[in-house]
Amino acid sequence: MNKLFVYISALLLLSCSVKEPKAERQLDVLPEIYPDYVDVTIPSNIAPLRFMLKTGTDEAIAVLSCRTNQIIEKADESKFLFDESEWKDLLKQAKGQDIQLKIYQKQDGSWAEYQSFPIHVANEEVDSHLAYRLIPPGYEPWYRMGIYQRDITTFKEKAILENTQTDNNCMNCHSFPMQNPDKMLFHMRAVYGGTYLINGNDVEKLDGKVGDEIASFVYPSWHPSGDFIALSTNKTLQSFHRAHSNRIEVYDENSDVFVYDIKRHKVLTDSLLFSKNAFETFPTFSPDGKSLYFCSASIPDTLKMPRDFKTIKYNLCRIDFNPDNQTFGTEVDTIYSVRKEGRSAKFPRVSPDGKFLVFTVSDYGNFSIWHHDADMFIYDFSKKAYTPLNEANSNDTESYHSWSHNSRWLVFSSRRDDGLYTRPYITYIDENGKAHKPFMLPQEDPDFYRSFMFSYNIPEFIQGEVKIDSKTLINIAKNGTAKQVGF
């Protein structure tokens, strides 16, 4: 027992006395670390950016310093597992500055120092929580999935709802108005099918079928007032490629856009949004609530799906919306034109400050998560011009994205990590609309993503925790009556 005490004390002492080594050699290369946090820009309230050294499992030490504050961390089997409170202290001092990171590794018995690199800490904080769906990145059938929330200032993740509680049905399209966690929308498919609207502790279940025109509610976007939700209704099908790296093709055979009036339980639409000559989808409101952006693809009379799947390309459009009298404008503006660019736009999202609009572009179609060529573009309202978000894009898929409430952070899903499983990345968008190198959402174990077999789907920033109890949701799903919606 005494011996054990001595060992533990010795170990504790040793662990406390990690010192910055004196390097005998300077290496001319940057360290290979996973996830790649070299030169990234981070918010000052993010959880520790724990990472691992990809080059060998030799003894290694990381030194993070900013002004007078310093963290010296010894690698635990090549993993640098920074303490949360030390990290927070460091970030507090580093706000608006750089943290300089030096990594030493023992190679052939002597210490070698890699090229140091900075981690930039922005002045602006990020929203504290991220909501996402975890699903297998696969084909039509679903077995296990759920909507989760992660406190990104720590490593705590909680389930909002898992489909193991609802007979393994499908649940999707969670959405929040202006990053407000108290109001939420999501759909359930198959068993307990319907659209669920959460307002504080109240839950309303809606029957998504409206007349013969609307079979179900699909892609949502809240009006900033919280009184309306823009939605699309889509007849979506899926097939897989006989031999193509994109694997799967998801396409619509029909789609239209409408606005759901929450107070009146009514659907509002217009022939410009609900046309037989076009597929309209992915609606989103501007932060002032006076514009509705959506994607629209012209369809020829001869169109036959899936035969012509590569010919469907979406314009990015805008139409006026008047929330006071619930009417739409009479003209549609085209922001991104298929005729001009030859490619297809989707997922428009306007920054809460109304200055920028980020959307995804790929060669064709609307379901860009399966398109390796998909990249994000940013539209600057002051310049009336769009450019690719090169600093945030990669050679692989970038698709769904959402803004933080202060318009400085953008979270997006990307397949760059392994080519299949989407992971959430966060990028800083400065006042000029320029993206900075993004970082993958940090995990408690830096090796987590390597063996995690689910995709992060629809990452949405929220300003706090979704507090609704899953039991309440399940009770409404199983015993509640769906409210009918009319025109």
Partner: protein, 457 residues
């Protein structure tokens, strides 16, 4: 010595020596019964175990262990996963399950010995042991439940047989926490432990002793004979169950799946029921075996054929169907369909296990040039005991398409996919396109020929 003075610790009205002898006879009986149980399990249930092996994937990594070790009930899952990997080898499944039988039977025996007339205890104990091994053959039953039962039995025995009340109370408290954490069943452990503890503290044996002494026969030899006969009856009941189910569809399917995973094509063709009671499903296995042997077209007529559904089907909703058809599409050269079926099979239950499906996904991703995700799967498989070697052998293909092209299995499939495009519509159309683009690809051509023959019949 203290035990002799303390009457409640020798609850029966038989002399201590005889009581001890009685216990040893019972233990010896259990050991003999265990040998029989092992023999029967190995004879009738070996494919249950080899099949189960695929539905867990124990990985030698902290990343895998940590969430299990630090969650209530996770340790029993960790141990169950660990044990199940050994089911791969012949007789290991039967051996581990025999130990489950023996552990349960002895655990129950020693508890009941305190509670009810001693010569009936063996019968109940054997029955409980058999119930466990029967449950273990059900795919929906979780081995962690057996481990939980064994640990709870151990804790109850420790409480009941503690040398004094103080130790018994400590054991009760410690076991509630430790066994409760390991099994995740705090409430059950607490309630059962409390009952055992109260039984011990209040000397409840005084009451049960009265019954013991009245139940005939009192003759020691006769009691043992009755005990053994009852045990044999229990065993007979259990074994009857196994022999019955040995011929049912589920057990046959587990056998076929095991042979398919192991690529034992001759083994599949040699199964007697393939010819004696053919079904479209059996035909699909049989034709897959013939195709893999390269003789589908030549020997097609020598085996029972039940229409085109015996070749493949576009409808595959169940997990074993998905995995079977993944193999069929693969041998046909339809890499995309094979990948789709393997992927859906892999995620079927929400548990991301099935190492053979993962190996298939490694192959399809290598063929398609998706090296990063192939590497991810290889890394996971390299953390297992059984699949480390085959997975590592694929590592050399990462980022080396020229090596893939030289591989006798992956090479022709890679070449074949280069001639395909468009979206898959149905498997027949896909097969036709494969044959049109690659008329020399024998397995695909054989399947198409057989399909044409069967569709004309």
């Amino acid at each position: 010595m203290r035990m002799r003075k303390n009457k409640p610790l020798n609850p029966t009205n038989v002399p201590v020596d005889r009581d001890k002898r009685d216990v040893w006879i019972q233990i010896l009986t259990y050991l003999i019964l265990s040998v029989l149980v092992f023999w029967f399990l190995q004879k009738f249930c070996r494919y249950d175990y080899t099949y189960d092996e695929q539905f867990r994937m124990f990985r030698y990594s902290w990343n895998y262990a940590e969430p299990l070790l630090f969650s209530a009930g996770g340790i029993s899952t960790y141990i169950a996963d660990y044990l199940t990997q050994f089911y791969y080898w012949p007789a290991c499944g039967a051996l581990i399950n025999t130990l489950f039988f023996l552990g349960t039977a002895l655990g129950v025996f020693f508890i009941l010995r305190k509670l009810i007339p001693d010569y009936l205890t063996s019968f109940f104990a054997v029955l409980c042991g058999l119930v466990i091994v029967v449950l273990e053959t059900d795919l929906n039953y979780q081995t962690e439940n057996t481990l939980s039962i064994l640990l709870i039995l151990l804790a109850l025995n420790c409480i009941l047989y503690a040398p004094n009340k103080a130790i018994s109370s400590v054991v009760f408290m410690v076991s509630t926490v430790v066994v409760g954490y390991i099994t995740g069943h705090f409430m059950y452990v607490f309630i059962l432990g409390l009952v055992a503890f109260l039984f011990y503290v209040f000397g409840m044996e005084k009451f049960t002793r009265k019954f013991r002494s009245k139940i005939p026969p009192q003759n020691f030899v006769l009691r043992q004979v009755i005990s053994v006969i009852l045990c044999i009856c229990a065993l007979w009941l259990g074994l009857n169950f196994f022999t019955e189910r040995h011929h049912n569809q589920s057990t046959r399917l587990k056998c076929l799946e095991t042979l398919r995973w192991r690529k034992d094509w001759d083994g599949i063709l040699a199964l007697p029921y393939m010819k004696l009671s053919p079904t479209t499903l059996y035909a699909a296995y049989q034709n897959l075996a013939l195709a893999n042997k390269g003789v589908l077209s030549e020997q097609f007529d020598k085996y029972p054929q039940l229409g085109v559904e015996g070749l493949w089907s576009d409808n595959h909703g169940l997990q074993y169907e998905l995995l079977l058809f993944s193999d069929i599409y693969f041998v046909q050269g339809n890499v995309a369909a094979s990948q789709m079926a393997a992927f859906n099979g892999f995620y079927y239950s929400g548990k991301t296990v099935l190492p053979t499906a993962l190996l298939r996904l490694v192959e399809t991703n290598l063929i398609n040039g998706s090296y990063q995700v192939a590497e991810k799967y290889i890394s996971l498989l390299e953390e297992t005991l059984l699949y480390k070697k085959p997975a590592s052998e694929y590592r050399k293909f990462l980022n080396h398409p020229e090596l893939i092209e030289q591989d006798p299995v992956l090479g022709p499939l890679k070449k074949l996919t280069q001639g395909l495009d468009g979206l898959s519509s149905d498997m027949f159309t896909d097969l036709k396109k494969i044959v049109q683009a690659n008329p020399d690809f024998k397995a695909a051509k054989d399947y198409l020929d057989c399909y044409t023959k069967l569709s004309h019949e």
